[in-house]
Amino acid sequence: MIRLQTRTNNSNAMVFLSPILALTLTALSTFFIFFLAGVDGFGAFYVLFIEPLSTKYNFSEMLVKAAPLMMIALGLSVGFRAGVWNIGAEGQYTVGAIVGGAVGLYFYEVEGFWVLPLMSLAAIVGGMLYAGIAAFLRTKFQVNEILVTLMLTYVAILLLSAMVHGPLRDPDGFNFPESRLFHDSATLPIIWEGTRVHIGLALAVIFSFLTYFWIKKHISGVQINISGSAPRAAKFAGFDENKAVWTSLLISGGLAGLAGLLEAAGPVGQLVPHLPTGYGFTAIIVAFLARLNPLGIIFSSLLIALTYIGGENAQITYDLPSSITSIFQGMLLFYFLACDVMIRHKIIFSFSKNINHE
């Protein structure tokens, strides 16, 4: 029998050891899967984890992928702290891209420094409104936000498809379901010469620090935190639960919307039906791997971005499907959640039926 005993104090050692242990276990399991699939484990491992860090191109692509993950995960972490489960960031990301992209296309070939900020603003508002539906239904009718945000994700993806097949389709595009390419004023500035790394990465890092200080220092951030960890205490202290729901859904929706636009106006450069590639879902893993800590999200988003690049390389080198990435991400979260138990509990293996309780 396995038994858990609550520790009197949280184990500081396990706070650091558990991620390492989780990574090791994930690595071993990945080896095992490669073994089953008949792939050279060491070679595949090199391709998955070392190669992405070894060339400028791969490294920069990792940063490109980390930017949207970081931004979405930041917003989600605020909600998860408050016990508000926005699972549909993918939908808010898509709506942000549609709304912000539509603004960019409306001002097609209009030059001006204000075009991008306006697109970003539209994307943020779009994402906020879309997540706001869930906030409204939860605060007004007690409808579960997990289901609402999720259902709206499918709706948003279909809406994007309808848009690029209809109103936003490139008029000179031979009926391909794509929008026009964004013109220069509507395309994100590159911050690393010769790569696709854009200003969104810098924004995401700045937001991480801002969120960190907001949660730790500002009263409204602290309230959010407490309404999740101790709802009853929050109630007695007079914190408004509805306010926490609204705040966290608006923040996570806005950031996801912005991330969607950054992807459309950055690496992709136009609106296409396959713009939503699952960042909204993966960001949930990113947030949990960082234990919902905004600064930790900088690192966990880089780690998860690494698995994407590694997965793509494995696809090319070993003809492995890119789905190896989501297996890996799922396992990493399993092991991480399991290992984190040891921060607060001691695991005791005992084989006798009579256990003396302390």
């Binding site: 699972i87 239904l137 499907p321 297996i327 799922g330």
Partner: protein
């Protein structure tokens, strides 16, 4: 009787059955106080397992059993993590869905260009040939009848047996149930396994009855709709069938809408089942705010740890 009408009724039953399976499994899980968001993952692993076994052995019974086992294997991972290692239900369930989608895509890559023999509707000599009643009542596939049976058995178990009462008590107050000596973790573990079996079965229905092919991500959110159905049914087994028929109905009518001369882009029609889910959840709350609060298991999604 109109051919089209019969065709639509059969279509609705085929669209609803996977939802009934997945939802009735999750209903038992939630009644025990556990929230498993991994339904989508367990379903799709059930779908690929059933498909692969059917492809290699061409034996539907074996294929269906294999998908049940596959669903239970994923459920075991969830149960170990949430019940033994006390992890967060929401995060673990999401990881299970991601993992299931990944595993199925990885395993299924060699099956994307093949088809298998699908499970056919059974024909009962004499009964199936009756006019009107024959095609409407006696011409479904065996899994459809099984899904109705599963719902009835769950209803009987929850409402008429002592163990069902204990399971509900655990879902409503695990501390009290533990204090009077009931095995909270054991009940929940078994409930989660049942949920996995049913989700796997629902997945098998997709790839063995609905369309006998394998497509990556072919569950397309049905696992999530099943979760919504449990809320829609306010945790009552028979209402699951009603809900599933409504959702199945919308998705079938959406297919026939163009035939009736409704001139709307396909994308907008495809949004209907998802929008309908939200609308139904809202109207449910508007109609009986206090009532559905009373039926929701009070310990749903809360981690249980016996400190004593």
């Amino acid at each position: 009787m109109n051919e089209l009408f019969i065709q639509i009724v059969l279509g609705i039953s085929i669209a609803s059955t996977p939802l009934i399976f997945a939802a009735i499994g999750e209903l038992v899980v939630e009644r025990s106080g556990v929230l498993n968001l991994g339904v989508e993952g367990m379903m799709i692993v059930g779908a690929i397992t059933g498909f692969a076994v059917q492809f290699h052995y061409n034996n539907v019974v074996l294929a269906v059993l294999a998908s049940i086992v596959a669903g239970m294997m994923l459920a075991t991972v969830f149960a170990l993590l949430t019940q033994v290692l006390l992890t967060n239900h929401v995060a673990t369930g999401l990881a299970l869905t991601l993992f299931g989608l990944g595993v199925s895509a990885f395993w299924g890559r060699t099956y994307s260009k093949v088809t298998v023999d699908r499970i056919d509707a059974i024909s009962i000599p004499g009964l199936s040939d009756l006019p009107v009643v024959g095609p409407l009542v006696f011409s479904y596939d065996p899994l459809f009848y099984l899904s109705i049976m599963a719902v009835s058995l769950v209803w009987y178990f929850l409402n008429k047996t002592k163990k069902g009462l204990i399971l509900r008590a655990i879902g409503d107050n695990h501390d009290a149930a533990h204090a009077i000596g009931h095995k909270v973790v054991r009940y929940r573990f078994l409930a989660i396994l049942f949920g996995g079996a049913m989700a796997g079965l629902g997945g098998a229905y997709l790839s063995l009855v609905q369309v006998p092919i394998w497509v990556e991500g072919m569950t397309a959110g049905r696992g999530w709709i099943a979760l919504a159905l449990v809320v829609f049914a306010s945790w009552q087994p028979f209402k699951v069938i009603v809900g599933a028929l409504i959702f199945g109905g919308i998705s079938i009518l959406q297919l026939h809408a163009q035939g009736f001369g409704v001139n709307v882009d396909a994308q907008y029609l495809s949004m209907l089942p998802y929008l309908m889910t939200i609308i139904v959840l809202v109207t449910l709350r508007v109609r009986s705010k206090s009532k559905s609060d009373r039926v929701m298991p009070h310990c749903l999604g809360k981690v249980f740890h016996s400190t004593q």
